[in-house]
Symmetry: C2
Subunit: 432 residues, 2 copies
């Protein structure tokens, strides 16, 4: 009924097998021309292009830009229709995200120090003026993503946040609107895809031009973000969601199976990899997966994800496990083991690390605190979770007294002359 690939670290060509199921970068180039055309259209024709593209691609009957704007009073109505439980859950999540990022912002601060003789150096931290937040619509429409993107931006001090969310076939998730209300958003554009990214990057008559665009989207959104990068900043190029679970054999196999299935239900291209040194445990997890699969509402998505990109991997020991974790550099890592602290020192690359058997990855998706917008597709080798750092930037500060200038002048002049930059040398020498 379902087959998940089983691998053993000691297999011949193990890494070749593994590489086959890992991220394939070529996907980024497939739709590039199509996306470039959309971006050009919006850049040239602004609102007219936006309305036309939204009508066509999202299958909504709109005639003006006005009908693609949701004002705060409508967001409030969406919020009011929620159950008390839903309201409280969103608010708790919002508060916890706020608290985590407030803690984080204590470390990203302006500072200066004075050096003898008369040289003051520093860094000044400032928020980005205006940020665009892309929230997916359609089958991956998550209210949690609204909070996870917007609240870190608010804590970072961003002055203006422009939220876009597509409404394919006119359908909007009221929880998404309610989350925008809770996050203090004033209005939302119901646009999506490459056209929304283009509107944010270049501005239209209605959509303000932003300085940076954050938030994950589908492949068109990702290609568009890459295309406008440089014109504006972007957070990252998001691929399908992934989890890597390491278990020592002592976690209930049902728990692990559900963690695997919960990753797979996101997307046909989502990835769940399970690693253990206990072969009986591996088989038990496999059995649990099979047992639960039939009960899932998203069974078809899960089946495709599991059979195409899933893997159950037997390793010999902790050393092999660590090697694999650092190679795969997963978006989410569950250390379902005793003493996860001991292993933590050896883990170099992962977006988010869930320590111990009780720390379900799902807590991180919704309400633990850190943003669930995380580097995918092995990019945690060089990038980080969305955070206040994404919404602020630094300037270097330098200040010399006459004495300080004298100290740096001679040295600068020597180096400038070595580079044949005579104007540089003279500029430095004048300060003596």
């Amino acid at each position: 009924m379902i087959t998940v690939i089983k691998l053993s670290y000691n297999d011949i060509n193990f890494y070749d097998h593994l590489k086959k199921i890992l991220y394939n970068e070529n996907i980024f180039d497939i739709k590039k021309k199509y996306v470039d055309k959309i971006i050009k259209k919006v850049k040239i024709s602004g609102d007219i292009a936006l309305v036309e593209l939204t009508k066509k691609l999202d299958n909504i009957d709109v005639k003006t830009m006005e009908s693609l704007i949701i004002k705060r009073d409508i967001l409030k109505i969406a919020y009011d229709t929620l159950s008390i439980n839903q309201k409280e859950s969103l608010k708790l999540a919002a508060n916890r995200i706020k608290h985590y990022h407030e803690h984080q912002s204590k470390f990203h601060i302006s500072w200066k120090y004075e050096e003898a003789p008369g040289i003051l150096l520093g860094q000044k931290v400032t928020p980005i003026d205006r940020v665009g937040v892309y929230v997916p619509g359609g089958k991956a429409s998550y209210p949690s993503s609204v909070l996870m993107n917007i609240i870190p931006a608010i804590i970072a001090g961003v002055n203006e946040i422009i939220m876009v969310v597509p409404a394919p076939n006119g359908i909007l998730n009221k929880m998404v609107l309610a989350a925008a209300y809770i996050a203090n958003i004033n209005y939302v554009f119901t646009i999506g895809g490459a056209q929304a990214i283009a509107a944010l990057a270049y501005g239209t008559e209605s959509v303000p031009k932003v300085d940076k665009i954050v938030g994950p989207g589908n492949i068109f959104v990702t290609i568009a973000k890459r295309a406008v990068f440089g014109q504006v900043g972007i957070d990252m190029l998001a691929g399908p969601s992934e989890i890597l679970i390491l278990s020592d054999g002592n976690t209930n196999p049902d728990w692990i199976a559900m963690d695997i299935l919960s990753q797979c239900e996101h997307d046909e291209k989502a990835q769940a990899i399970f690693i253990t040194w206990d072969i009986n445990h591996l088989n038990a997890v496999y059995a649990s997966i099979k047992k639960f699969l039939l009960k899932m509402n998203r069974i078809n998505i899960i089946k495709k994800s599991l059979s195409k990109r899933g893997a159950l991997i037997k390793v010999e020991d902790e050393i092999q496990a660590i090697e694999l974790i650092n190679y795969i550099a997963p978006e989410h890592l569950e250390l379902s083991i005793n003493n996860p602290e001991k292993l933590l020192n050896n883990i170099n690359h992962s977006g988010s690390i869930f320590m111990g058997r009780y720390t379900s990855e799902v807590f991180g998706d919704y309400c633990a605190g850190p943003s669930h917008v995380l580097p995918t597709s092995r990019t945690s080798r060089f990038s980080s979770p969305l955070s206040i750092y994404d919404f602020q930037k630094r300037s270097s500060i330098l200040q010399c007294s006459l004495e300080g200038a004298q100290y740096l002048s001679k040295n600068s002049s020597i180096l400038a002359r070595s580079e044949s930059l005579i104007a540089h040398a003279i500029s430095a020498e004048y300060r003596i």
Copy 2:
């Protein structure tokens, strides 16, 4: 002889005039197809392609990859040939850069905090494993760039640094090699352009595949960096260098003229903009520029830069000056005024800020401490100077006890069910 555009904030269409001399983003797309071809070639044929392309594009007679590698003993020989002054200047610069980034790294640290009941949250900071550093060769071959790129990476804890520098027509700057020696580099590849970026991103038989590429280069390098972004991390998309100088009229016009000329001598596309509310001072600076121009060794580069992209701007007051600074978001900003501290609070966007009349921008180029690799082309609106943050990344840490899991479980389950993610809900509920 030389005409520099003079603008007044109160001119009709002032911003239209200004926009004409500011960065034009289209340059990125001009050579894209050509660059894509080079990248593909290196990706497919590795060292063979590298040797062939280097031979052709850098006009060097090489037959094997071996001849494109400079080992540490040769770097040392280059260092040994320097004058004592040059050696000491490079070492002083290296030490000052080291000291500044050590200070910075005190703020980018791992932390965790425990929340009642039983929820531990944190962030773990780790260095990037392997970084590629691009150092320009040819007419913009700067030893200072070697130090400004590599030392922050070392302080950040990067395990392996791969330096590339092209040697067009076989010519290498011995100061560049000496700087690599001082920065403790073991070997250097004398490759450049898009082919070097491709080699670093995908690896070849000789060039190790890196996780991130930093360092500014020419237009081909910049397009190539954009193309491989996602496969590897990149620091930024560098455009031509720029300065904006604000003077209150009390700085010696000769000093300002030299600061303008020193920016222009970098590159025909470099930009120097001068702002003041004192029209006599503006004219005096203009006169000084004309006076010094003839004495410059790079007069032709300076003339093109000044006449095409330079501007002397008269504003009414400080308020207009601040507005312009934040609009232009310059790479380098000199505040050649009394009490620059007062203005600093209002400045939101600039790569590096030089406070007061004695702080020549040239000090920042060579030895003050902060990296001279800075966001150009208005990108300081959303990006930062090269720093230890570029060479490290964060992982979020979450750890729940049974009690902590119980606290987060209900909330996660409610939100998961609102998103119709049933596997998520069950995964959360199991932890109770």
